[in-house]
Amino acid sequence: MGYLKKKTGVYYLINAVLVFLLFFVLLNLINNRIINRTSTQILTLICINIILAVSLNLVTGVLGQLVLGHAGFMLVGAYTSALFTMNIGLDLKIAFPISLVLAGLMAAVFGVIIGIPALRLKGDYLAIITLGFGEIIRVIANNLKITNGAMGLSGIKSLSTTKNPSPMFIYAYALAALTVFLMFTFGRSRHGRAVIAIREDEIAAESMGINTTYYKLFTFVLAAFFAGVAGGVFAHQIGVIDPSKFDFNRSVEILIMVVLGGMGSITGSVISATVLTWLPEQLREFSKYRLLVYSIILILVMLFKPSGLLGRYEISIPKFLDKLFARITKKTAKTKTGGA
């Protein structure tokens, strides 16, 4: 039980330092224009996709329920947040963070409304029902006045400007880090254990005193919340949203990130969200073959690593350092004794 050992605190510290370090390095590079606008945008999108993938991983990887409508929650969040900042008349610097909280909450409300009936079903049926809800949300957004129908919303202001290119990235990064942290801490608590137990055997879990309905709904809603927040950031980053952006294919895209990274592995999701957002950009020159290559890679990975790149394994840099030190100290100890 790594997390109960004395080292745990040190691990947390190392991780925190690493996350901050990476952040400041990237921020500096962006502000000095060494990382250009395309790359800043891609970094921001990577963070958004990390939030989406990690939150979906909670439901699909940890709780073990196949969900095909994650993009629906993203839609709810994106519209909530965009409509709020566009209509409230507050300074964007204040309105934006508030709008993100609202986006999350609104998506969570939808999560509850959808989750209560949907979670009565399992497996493929749950997948279908979430797919159905996702489509319903999209079609309704396509028909409402407030969402401006199929035209979608445009002119959503971004905090980033040509002069100051970093604010959106700062938000996205901080939120991604927070999401990862919360998913991690949630997963490794009595609540997370209850959720994993449900994945492993629902009947047994319930017979051991776990309120399975509550935990299924809770995880579902939590994931919806984060998807909503991600949607809010996304809307403000791109500036234009319309319902078709959040269709079934988008849900599948997120699902693929989760499965490719490894179901239940947070670091796996982070890595695959990063790679799958970054790589297509690099392959832009070969656009005709891009999806062909992507599909072949997808199939090959699944064939030879069906549980995803990392499976349930988590990459931990502190642990790695630990092992490294252990080896070095062993070696030095050996050479010492050898020398003596």
Binding site: L182, T185, S189, G192, R193, I196, D201, A204, S207, I210
Partner: protein, 252 residues
């Protein structure tokens, strides 16, 4: 007052009367056996008692309170824990975590403390970790704590299931064929442990078992089911010589 009692308990599966008018009573600290031919309805009794199935009619009471219509987790929290005939462990969780899942209901810290790692989280997790390992000592499995449950040999999986049930702090423990798949030597060891559990935790135990050496040895009373009907009850001696039981179940 009886600890656990069923009255006129019946269930049908699409026309098949799996259980008919079952009366059983179990007192505190008793070890009671439930035996009967295959398909007699023994496991069904467990499923009814733990809320997995809903009875067609009848009453079930734990310490005088009806448990009919309650959900499995509520029943478990009110004091009934069980093991399963076909082992249902949380296979991809560690052995210790399997037990900690059961302790969930008795832990206090909330989701917020968990997600932001407040002190209450650390305190309780530490406590629970130590306790889980203590449970494992009952079967001398403390060295297996950090292995995945699916990597345990079959016999130890059965033992882990018992521990997992025990960790929910039940008043009565239902064991469904705990000795299945164990050889006689292992069965003997198991018998000792079941007695020890009863003494140490002060709980009642209701067990289903086909291994007569175990049943006749540790059960204080036996109920015998056949075709969903209670055909006999009494001490092991009485049952052993009951002609109806011999012809339906024991054989010559």
């Amino acid at each position: 007052m009886h600890l656990l009692l069923t009255k006129d308990l019946s269930i049908e599966f699409g026309g098949l009367q799996a259980l008919k008018d079952l009366h059983i009573e179990i007192n505190n600290r008793e070890i009671v056996g439930l035996i009967g031919p295959n398909g007699a309805g023994k496991t069904t009794v467990f499923n009814l008692l733990t809320g997995v199935y809903l009875p067609t009619s009848g009453a079930m009471r734990l310490e005088g309170n009806s448990i009919i219509g309650k959900k499995p987790f509520e029943i478990n929290r009110s004091g009934i824990a069980r093991t399963f005939q076909n082992i249902r462990l949380f296979k991809n969780m560690t052995v210790a975590d399997n037990i900690k899942v059961s302790m969930h209901q008795n832990m206090k810290y909330n989701t917020f403390s968990a997600m932001f790692r407040l002190p209450s989280y650390w305190k309780e997790e530490k406590k629970v970790d130590i306790k889980a390992r203590e449970f494992l000592e009952i079967f001398g499995m403390e060295d297996k704590a950090d292995q995945l449950a699916c990597n345990l040999p079959y016999g130890q999986q059965r033992k882990l299931e018992i521990l997992r049930a025990l960790a929910t702090k039940p008043k009565i423990l239902l064991l469904d064929e705990p000795a299945a798949g164990m050889n006689p030597t292992e069965t003997q060891e198991l018998m000792e442990v079941i007695r020890r559990i009863r003494d140490q935790f002060n709980i009642a135990i209701l067990l289903i078992e086909h291994d007569m050496s175990l049943v006749m040895n540790i059960c204080e009373r036996l109920y015998v089911l056949d075709y969903g009907h209670l055909i006999a009850q009494g001490t092991p001696e009485e049952i052993r010589t009951n002609p109806q039981v011999i012809s339906a179940y024991l054989g010559s």
